[in-house]
């Protein structure tokens, strides 16, 4: 475990190892092969931020460049999955999913149900999520909740390099369509990652910090900001338990409720807009299933109900911060 690699390298390694293991795994997306077919350097790019770089020379038949047409190549990936391949399609930003919604939620998500369980759709759609890159309202959204809403899809949001590798391997081996959400601000994050292959099961939250006073439920990049807040709060004697959901669908309800049973105080931290979000979903779940355990109202720390602003100063205000998380924790601790 001594080896440290980045979140981005962990994703690349998972793709490489699964392609080595299974000849039906293929990678496709805009510039994933680095502009193959056009003049110039081969394997020059590897997707917009270079995540797939290096795969094309090793697997020239299974790394495909696609036209800039999400509706076309996402449909092609879903069709290839239905026909027995295991495609991993890169859809640059989750913000662009709108143009291929029918392919994803009317087709891929429904096949297994509408064909009596006979049709499998083992497709993975890798996509970047989240704010912080100064990329404005059409490249920065956290739309995890929209896909979590759709039965038939699985939704994965790794927070660490270790989880990114293990969850992507699980995503590729899973027989259902998976929306694999990579937070663009985490690509450079370093962490211990085994060189060997491993899969992390879906629906298993990770308790990243033990505490007895307040449960912080979160996922993705917000895990790190929550940990930062929890570390500061520990100095003033408040012990937070931080739960990283890892997958929002399926959802590990048991781990959340078990923790709430212990603490009775909850803060949900979600980078999405506040309405119809993972934060509201988790809050409703706790209010319904663990009402008797609660000692204070459930607090939510989310982005405001606005698009992601382009101005640096406004984007910084938009994203939940450790200070806002600390304030929410303090509020539920001080309540009564």
């Amino acid at each position: 475990m001594a080896r440290q690699i980045s979140y981005q390298q962990a994703i690349n390694e998972a793709l490489r190892q699964e392609m080595e293991r299974d000849p039906t795994v293929l990678v496709m997306g805009e510039d994933n092969a680095g502009g193959e077919g056009s003049p110039g350097e081969r394997d020059a790019w590897g997707g917009v931020l270079g995540v797939t770089k290096g795969l094309y020379p090793q697997f020239p038949d299974r790394v495909l460049d696609t036209p800039i047409s999400e509706s076309g190549f996402i449909g092609a990936a879903i069709g290839a999955a239905a026909a027995g391949m295991r495609p991993v399609a890169e859809l640059m930003f989750i913000d662009f999913m709108g143009v291929c919604f029918d392919q994803i939620f009317n087709q891929a998500a429904k096949f297994k149900y509408m064909f009596g369980g006979k049709a499998l759709t083992p497709v993975v759609i890798r996509t970047m999520v989240g704010a912080g890159l100064r990329a404005a309202g059409q490249h920065s959204q956290m739309l995890v909740n929209i896909f979590t809403h759709i039965p038939g899809l699985k939704v994965v949001c790794p927070a660490t390099p270790y989880d990114a590798k293990g969850l992507l391997i699980q995503s590729i081996r899973d027989n259902d369509p998976v929306i694999f959400c990579e937070h663009k601000m985490l690509y450079g994050l370093q962490g211990d990652v085994p060189e060997e292959s491993y899969a992390i099961p879906f629906g298993e939250a990770n308790v990243v910090r033990d505490g007895k006073d307040v449960t912080i439920v979160t996922f993705g990049r917000m895990v790190h900001l929550s940990n930062e807040a929890a570390a500061t709060l520990a100095n003033s004697g408040i012990q937070c338990e931080v739960i990283d959901l890892r997958t929002t669908s399926p959802l590990d309800v048991d781990t959340v409720l078990e923790s709430v049973g212990k603490t009775g105080r909850v803060v949900v931290v979600d980078e999405s807009n506040p309405r119809c979000s993972i934060a509201t979903d988790i809050s409703a779940l706790i209010a319904q299933k663990a009402f008797g355990d609660l000692k204070a109202p459930i607090e939510m720390v989310t982005a405001p109900h606005t698009p992601v602003p382009f101005a640096d100063s406004l984007e910084d205000l938009y994203i939940p911060s450790p200070a806002k998380i600390r304030a929410a924790v303090q509020y539920v601790v001080d309540y009564r």
Binding site: Y162, G166, V207
Partner: protein
């Protein structure tokens, strides 16, 4: 200054760079004896008691509960009653003036290495120099880190190897049969690869059965045997633990199983469970563990008993009296020449729970081997 002893933060394992003072077992003024538990310290990985280095009086708590201290930092002072307070104050001041914490990253200490044995990768950690060589063999589901409280202390004046058995740790996960012969062949191959003609073998649980197998098959390679909570001496074993461990794939399934390994449940912290879970997720591990179970056990019992081998070379047995995996009664009836040490306070992981005592037993036993 031999009447004053500094108690410092120990280094348990490669990754430990600091310790948190969790609880003092003794108060200033208490008489203390060498080997008694003095203070609990937690690392990221594990919590354990720091033992008293000498007889005397605990004169000072220099560290208080909650302190986060680097390796080697001062925890307390043991001294005789007649040593004046001023002298202790001076020692504390001098210690703090001269103390420089070791940077974990710049430590440059021994790191695990990888070697090919029969075309398969074996990870090992070597420490210390000396004419005597020790080889530490972990048990089912373990790895070389199980010896984190033992390897460094035993490496004073000796060459000590700990390795990941095949199917375990970061060694190759492929096993042909999973039988003791395969494990023993890998260990012999490893000894060839590092040019180790003979060694004192220290085996825990299944690792002890592997050591016994080597003692039977290749007696010239074995200078002595230290069998810690060993397999291979009797039929009975907690097969539910073994099967449960092989099948567990979540923290909630794993934690109650790991708790059975220790007499003191507090030792099973979240990091320990996480580390085992990370190992268990690696490709090929479940197959390796299941293969090992089918090869080595039948009808819930140990298939191969090697009791007869115990008397053939210098051997000792160390057993945690609270072992819930293999019954300590299996040490009964061994040849009279084989010392059997029961450690009242320890469970199956006796070498972790009673590390200092186990280390002392190993060191003094080896010193007496011709």
């Amino acid at each position: 200054m031999s009447d004053i002893h500094a108690v410092t933060v120990p280094k348990w394992g490669l990754s430990m760079d600091k310790g948190v003072v969790a609880a003092w077992h003794k108060q200033p003024g208490d008489p203390v004896r060498k080997g008694e538990d003095l203070v609990d310290v937690e690392s990221d990985k594990i919590a354990n008691a720091v033992e008293c280095p000498a007889d005397g009086i605990l004169r000072r708590h220099v560290a208080v509960v909650g302190d986060v201290l680097p390796i080697g930092a001062l925890l307390g002072i043991i001294a005789d009653a007649e040593v004046p307070d001023a002298k202790i104050d001076a020692l504390v001041a001098e210690f703090h003036a001269n103390f420089k914490p070791i940077e974990a990253a710049a430590d440059g200490g021994p790191q695990p290495q990888v070697i090919q044995v029969g075309g398969k990768r074996v990870r090992y950690l070597a420490m210390g120099e000396g004419t005597d060589a020790l080889l530490l063999l972990h048990g089912f589901g373990g790895d070389l880190n199980n010896w984190l409280f033992n390897q460094e202390p035993l490496a004073q004046g000796r060459r000590v190897y700990a390795l990941d058995l095949p199917g375990h740790g970061e060694s190759d996960k492929r096993l042909e049969t999973g039988g003791l012969e395969e494990y023993a062949a890998c260990v012999k191959g490893f000894m060839d690869a590092v040019d180790l003609r003979a060694a004192h073998l220290v085996g825990h649980s299944m690792g002890a059965a592997v050591a016994l197998r080597i003692a039977v098959d290749a007696p010239a390679r074995v200078r002595s045997l230290t069998l810690v909570c060993p397999a291979g001496l009797g039929a009975e074993i907690n097969i539910d633990y073994l099967r449960g461990f092989a099948a567990a794939n979540s923290r909630n399934q794993l934690k109650p199983l790991l708790a059975q390994l220790f007499a003191d449940q507090a030792l099973v912290n979240r990091q320990l469970v996480d580390d085992v879970l990370k190992y268990k997720r690696l490709e090929g591990v479940t197959e390796a563990l299941n293969r090992t179970i089918s090869a080595q056990f039948e009808g819930g019992q140990q298939r191969t008993l090697l009791r007869d081998a115990v008397g053939r070379c210098p051997a000792q047995v160390i057993w945690g009296a609270k072992d819930q995996i293999i019954p300590p009664q299996q040490a009964q009836g061994l040849p009279a020449t084989v010392p059997v040490h029961r450690i009242a306070s320890a469970g199956h992981m006796a070498h972790m729970e009673a590390a200092s005592e186990v280390n002392r037993l190993i060191a003094s036993f080896i010193a007496g081997v011709p």
